[in-house]
Symmetry: C2
Subunit: 166 residues, 2 copies
DNA sequence: GTCCATGCAAACCTTTTGCACTATA
DNA sequence: TATAGTGCAAAAGGTTTGCATGGAC
């Protein structure tokens, strides 16, 4: 069974959301939803534009942004900002809907992992600070196994020991 | 003792960094460093520009960006992106140099807290994924105590239960 | 037929860059 | 005096918006 048919129900789910909101289900919206749901990557708008050019006809950037906004509102897709200067999008329909990210500073690869520890932190800040957690983001930046074993080194720079020399 | 004199050594620290790098210590660079070190907020470039207008003469935006770049390189200042569409800057000379952020979705306030739990997570990903952590970012979004007690509600929206209805 | 979406281009916002002029060391 | 910084304005890059046209229901 191909990924395409496997993910078909998710595209229909987006259609249901649109109908519930009284919004038209257009070819472009379905095409964009397909791209996002059939990928397990963290897609940039540029990635999506590229994929659309290959499969569906040319779709305007404005439409991509507007549709991504709807996908995020529907809660089927999550928006990420890894500090690259643009956003990335990822559907939330995988087997691990809540996960954190490991970002390699050398090659840019994004790995996913789960962390139950964060729930403990959320409970603690609720108790200690009266803060009611809704969602969180944990990103660890460093070197992925391949880059580390490949001997990659990160430039250090800066003052060696700022506090002590104050 | 005023905050100004208390933080003076930090400005000198930046001067030392500049000299070490063979770069001139200019009035503008000192003025910008002062603003950042004397504040305990998470400042935007706009905030800094505003503060400069009040205290020092007018300083060009380009100079602010270029100086912030130096401050970040010196490791005396940290760059943050809370997904607002622009960056914020915070000095790293407080008593809690490594901390995480609680961001209120209602009023935008940013609170700081410490989490030792994250070090456990870092050790785990090193063991389990061979990923070498360098730095991390943990942000919890939700309602601060004031907004929660003030009866703030966050709009839910979206499909209620996407997975199950697939 | 009524809305709303689309596509294009222009606008917007933050950040970066080029260049003539000025200040540091 | 040599070198690098500053300020201005223009450019760049991602994202948003206005508006005439076209598609969904």
């Amino acid at each position: 069974m191909s990924l395409v048919s496997t993910r078909q129900p998710f595209v229909r789910l987006f259609g249901r959301y649109l109908r519930d909101e009284g919004l038209p289900v257009t070819q472009q919206r379905e095409a964009i939803a397909k791209i996002v749901f059939e990928s397990d990557e963290h897609l940039s708008v540029h990635d999506i534009e590229q994929a659309l050019r290959d499969r569906a006809g040319r779709v305007g950037k404005a439409t991509i942004y507007r549709t991504l906004d709807l996908l995020v509102r529907s809660r089927l897709v999550e928006e990420h900002d890894f500090g690259e200067g643009f956003k990335r999008y990822e559907h939330r329909l995988s087997e691990h809907p809540i996960h954190e990210h490991l970002i390699c500073l050398e090659c840019g690869t994004v790995l996913e992992f789960e962390s139950n520890e964060v729930y403990g932190v959320e409970n603690r800040v609720r108790r200690e600070h009266g803060f009611v957690p809704v969602r969180h983001r944990l990103e660890i930046y460093g070197l992925c196994r391949d880059c580390d074993e490949g001997g990659a080194e990160l430039p250090v720079g800066g003052l060696t020991c700022p506090i002590e020399t104050a």
